[in-house]
């Protein structure tokens, strides 16, 4: 891929305003051309055009994205891709792709990450993290190596710690409040 190849117009580049120093992909505006688009392109070379100046409407399915090396080992990769896709089923356009990596980068602000984290952990997308969501999260984290009583105990304790309004599930305010005090969250 040559350096002078026009993949995006200047306005498109400007509009992305994606900030640099993602952990894996340097998504600086002028590196956007070669690196991020390159990654997107190599997932499906026959689908993704090289030239993006006329904003083609290309979406890649979930199965392609979750096999990327950065996401392959992540237990929440399905949920991550689903929550960044527009249709909620995991079909990612290039815009969504850039969004995903910019939120996952180390320079994204904490509130943004908290919002997306809530979406990711909310498996049934009812805007609450209920006990089932928690149990699913825990099982994905530990690959079901905890006994069901232990899972249940841990979920109950977690809800006990974070639930503020007493409805036995976590709404976004509860989640954000708890996350703001979790020191390890930003990674």
């Amino acid at each position: 891929m040559g350096n002078k190849q026009t993949i995006f117009t200047e306005e498109q580049l400007d509009a992305y305003q994606v900030r640099y120093s993602n952990t894996f992909i340097a998504a600086k505006v002028n590196i956007l051309q070669s690196q991020l688009h390159g990654r997107y392109h190599e997932l499906a070379p026959h689908l993704v055009p090289m030239d993006y100046t006329n904003n083609p409407d290309v979406k890649l399915p979930l199965a392609l994205i979750i096999n990327m090396p950065e996401l392959k080992e992540n237990p929440f990769r399905n949920r991550i891709v689903e929550s960044f896709s527009e249709d909620g089923l995991g079909n990612i356009s290039f815009n969504d792709f850039v969004d995903m990596f910019s939120v996952l980068s180390e320079t994204a602000p904490r509130e943004l990450k908290a919002i997306y984290a809530f979406k990711i952990y909310d498996f049934n997308t009812d805007n609450f993290i209920c006990k089932e969501d928690l149990e699913k999260t825990l099982n994905k984290l530990t690959r079901e190596e905890l006994t069901p009583e232990e899972v249940n105990l841990v979920c109950e304790k977690a809800i006990e710690e974070a639930d503020m309004d007493g409805d036995n599930k976590l709404c976004f305010t509860d989640f954000e409040n708890m996350i703001s005090r979790a020191p390890d969250f930003l990674r």
Binding site: R19, Y20, S21, T23, F24, K28, E70, K72, E73, N74, E86, D87, G88, L89, N95, D99, S102, P109, E111, I115, A117, F118, N124, T125, D126, N127, F128, C130, K131, L134, L138, L141, T142, E145, L146, E150, L153, V154, E156, K157, A158, I159, E160, E161, D163, M164, D165, G166, D167, N168, C171, F172, T173, N177, R181, A182, P183, D184, F185, R187
Partner: protein, 817 residues
């Protein structure tokens, strides 16, 4: 208790029956009649957030399979909590929830074609529409009450790229309305912000070892990452200290011939004390003697820039001014100690803030593990597996801790006495072990200093020279093993066990240096006839500071050799054995784990030596920088090739605080010998910059006495007792104030937490009442107007429904209560 609650929860979820039974309880809980919620059941407004266990009511949740939960079945009994279900298809049940600001911050991005998103689009349009309506009114930008979303830069909003673009276009159009002055100001502001962000990017790209550390983070997670970034911090710190020393002490001496100055030194009157015999080897020198000299700083190295003894300069006269070298020497020493202190404190401030606010030990530990436990940076399959197992281990440890806590609470008096007695005995044992180690260090130092072997083997001589270092290293190797063994009998909780063992190891490591220095000094001050004429034993130690410097130099070299040797001769063979040999030994050893605490103690020990030794050996920071530089690559190599991550992982956040805390202890310990030797101990008369002063500190009062009158009286006032006492009192007051402030903040945080809970319940109550009233209105409307087509009331952001609701609410609520 827990078991039966979970059973009934499960039944409820599977059955998805309407929860008819708890409804009256719920209504009771929410105190109908509009009374204040202060009568909520006790136990909720206490400090702890005790969740109501007896209330097993959990609303039946929609089935998990479909992403779009089905509508709850309408039932005869109004399940009050069903108002909180949202739907993506069909009729949403509460447009009110969608309009809440907290919900709008969770906006999903949906395709514009799907019907379900029309309501969201319209609500968004409503939001944007309101801003554009403001624009049409032509209001000034500053007078418009900016919603929090608008104030943030575009790239931080949680919108898709198209919406961000639209947002940005809108903002640009809005800005065109402004006057040119304000436009220019806004533009400059934006450009400056961009410039600042670019600058930060460039700075972060210039960081040392950035790529290496990223690779390590991806493979081993953030606990080990913090160790390596700590190492990087130490390299930078040592380099800066070296620059200080070099710039202020060495550079003037080096620059003397080039700047046409000359250096003067006054010879001390007392010829006996100032006799410094030559240390260069005479005659035929065997080759290995040079190696011995290189490794122990004697011989040809002794009278070089390396050691204190070389700087026998009183003043350096440059054409324009006179440079007082002794004063510079003392002040640079104090300066680098201060600099280290400030830099470490600044670095640890962030972690400390969190520790101060969260005083509860087990605060949020489960939530932290579930939501923030997974390290999203892991890319390696093995690392992912290990992270999973470590999370599992952590969760099991936490559950275990809960059980132990309950066990401790249930201990009988007899058992408590037994445990306390056992702990006392074991602590005494630990103290005796420590005393034995210190005594052996003392003996080794004395032996090393007193031995006058001249015609022995080169190796034996080397060993004798390095005897204190060898003994210290051996002691530091054996004692942690002993401590880990002992603590298992003392029956503490696992977290406390780890911390207590670490504290003991830290104490052992750092105190051994102190013992070495003390034994050195006892040797130096020990004269034959009991009374030292020069204040020290000038026959054996004509230049005792150089001797101390040599000991520090030897310690540092030996430490470096040990790190390299352990890596090459212990870790690599272990890896080879474990990989290729299938015997019982391999199984028992297991693969090497990168034990973070021990490694951190190692480098803190090295840094303490550097701090103490820089006064006696000005080039030591440079040696230390090079040493840590090489150690980084050694550790990285051993980590990548030999190690698997620890099964008991260190949490990154608390580990930063731990590292810097231990470093601060090392700094505090390093200050003590330096202060004592500067202020108390008489400096040697034969070498060094302080030949003409009784102690090193004396140069400062002498310089002050030569200053002009006003400055001198000012400085005298600063050092008087009155000033010191008032400063002390003011500092104490400031400290008490800050402590009180912290306590007040904690109380405010607790209060706000409770208020948050109360607000949440308020909201639920109000929404439930509203929807109840809505439904009653709907029913009464549909029953009275059968002819009218059933107008869909729940349509997007049509405010008519809610307005209608509000107009009809008063008569309805009176009947519903």
């Amino acid at each position: 208790m827990c078991v039966c609650v979970c059973v009934c929860v499960r039944a409820r979820v599977r059955g998805s029956q309407p929860a008819s039974q708890p409804e009256p309880a719920q209504a009771r809980r929410l105190v109908p009649g509009g009374a204040s919620l202060s009568e909520a059941p006790p136990g909720t407004l206490e400090g702890k957030r005790v969740r109501r266990r007896d209330d097993g009511h959990i609303p039946p949740l929609p089935p998990k399979k479909s992403r779009f939960p089905a509508r709850p079945q309408p039932s005869a009994h109004m399940d009050l909590d069903s108002v909180f279900y949202t739907h993506q298809h069909g009729l949403p049940s509460n447009p009110l929830l969608d309009q809440l600001p907290s919900y709008q911050s969770l906006l999903y991005r949906r395709k514009s074609s799907s019907a379900s998103s029309t309501k969201r689009r319209s609500s968004m349009r409503g939001r944007f529409g309101s801003t554009s309506s403001w624009r049409w009114k032509g209001e000034k930008l500053e007078e418009r009450p900016r919603s929090p979303q608008l104030n943030r830069p575009v790239h931080e909003l949680t919108l898709s790229i198209e919406e961000k673009r639209r947002n940005k276009e809108q903002r640009m159009e809005q800005d065109k309305d402004l006057s040119s002055w304000k436009q220019w100001r806004l533009n400059t502001h934006r450009h400056l912000k961009r410039l600042k962000e670019d600058g930060m990017e460039v700075l972060s790209a210039l960081q040392l070892w950035r790529g290496d550390i990223h690779v390590i983070e991806g493979m081993f997670g953030t606990g080990i990452l913090s160790y390596f970034s700590f190492l990087r911090f130490l390299v930078l710190l040592n380099f800066v200290i070296f620059l200080l020393m070099f710039g202020f002490v060495m550079l003037p001496i080096i620059a003397v011939p080039y700047a046409s100055g000359n250096s003067t030194f006054k010879v001390h009157d007392d010829a006996e004390c100032s006799d410094y015999p030559s240390t260069s080897r005479q005659g035929l020198v065997v080759f290995h003697q040079y190696i011995l000299d290189l490794l122990s700083g004697t011989g040809f190295l002794e009278k070089t820039y390396l050691f204190y003894g070389y700087y026998k300069v009183e003043a350096v006269h440059f054409p324009k001014f006179k440079y007082n070298l002794p004063l510079a020497y003392v002040l640079v020493t104090i300066a680098y100690l201060f600099l280290s202190l400030i830099w470490i404190v600044k670095r640890s401030a962030a972690g400390f803030k969190q520790n101060l606010i969260q005083d509860e030990d087990r605060f949020q530990s489960f939530c932290n593990k579930i939501f923030a436990g997974w390290d999203f940076c892991i890319t390696d399959e093995n690392a992912a597996r290990l992270k999973r197992s470590s999370l599992l281990y952590e969760l099991k440890t936490d559950l275990e801790e809960e059980r132990i806590k309950q066990k401790i609470a249930g201990r009988t008096r007899k058992e408590k006495c037994r445990i306390y007695l056992l702990r006392l005995v074991l602590n005494l044992f630990v103290v005796t072990v420590l005393a034995a180690c210190f005594y052996s260090i003392y003996k080794a130092t004395v032996l090393s200093q007193e031995s006058q072997l001249t015609d022995c083997n080169f190796i034996v001589k080397l060993i004798v020279e390095y005897l204190p270092s060898i003994v210290i290293t051996l002691a530091n190797f054996i004692t942690p093993l002993m401590f880990t063994l002992i603590i298992q009998f003392e029956d503490y909780s696992p977290a406390f066990e780890i911390r207590f063992t670490l504290m003991r190891c830290v104490f052992m490591r750092l105190a051994s240096i102190g013992v070495l220095l003390f034994s050195l000094w006892s040797q130096i001050a020990k004269c034959e006839d009991g009374n030292c004429s020069c204040g020290y034993n000038h026959k054996l130690y004509p230049c005792w500071e150089s001797r101390v410097g040599q000991e520090m130099y030897k310690l540092m070299i030996f430490d470096f050799i040990i790190i390299g040797a352990v890596t090459i001769f212990v870790e690599f063979p272990r890896k080879i054995i474990v990989t290729y040999c299938d015997c019982g030994l391999a199984k028992w050893l297991g693969q090497q784990e990168f034990a973070i605490p021990q490694n951190v103690l190692e480098i803190v020990y090295g840094q303490t030596i550097c701090w103490i030794g820089t006064f006696y050996c000005p080039l030591l920071p440079a040696i230390s920088t090079i040493k840590y530089f090489i150690v980084f690559y050694i550790k990285k190599m051993t980590l990548v090739n030999n190690c698997r991550p620890a099964t008991r992982p260190f949490r990154a956040s608390s580990s930063n605080f731990f590292f810097l805390g231990v470093l601060l202890i090392g700094l505090a310990l390093a200050c003590v010998p330096i202060i004592v030797s500067i202020a108390q101990i008489s400096c040697s008369k034969a070498c060094g910059p302080f030949v003409n002063y009784a102690t090193s500190w004396e140069v400062v009062p002498k310089t002050i006495s030569q200053l002009p009158e006003e400055l001198r009286s000012f400085l005298m006032a600063l050092s008087s007792e009155a000033f010191a006492i008032s400063l002390f009192v003011i500092t104490c007051l400031a400290m008490f104030y800050v402590i009180a402030l912290a306590g007040a903040h904690k109380a405010v945080v607790n209060q706000l937490r409770e208020q948050l809970a109360v607000e949440g319940r308020d909201k639920r109550f109000l929404i439930q009442k509203l929807v109840q009233a809505q439904r009653k209105t709907m029913r009464s409307l549909s029953s009275t107007t059968m002819q009218d087509r059933h107008r869909p009331l729940y349509h997007g952001a049509e405010n008519s429904s809610s307005e209608g609701l509000f107009t009809q609410l008063p008569p309805v609520s009176a009947s519903s209560v």
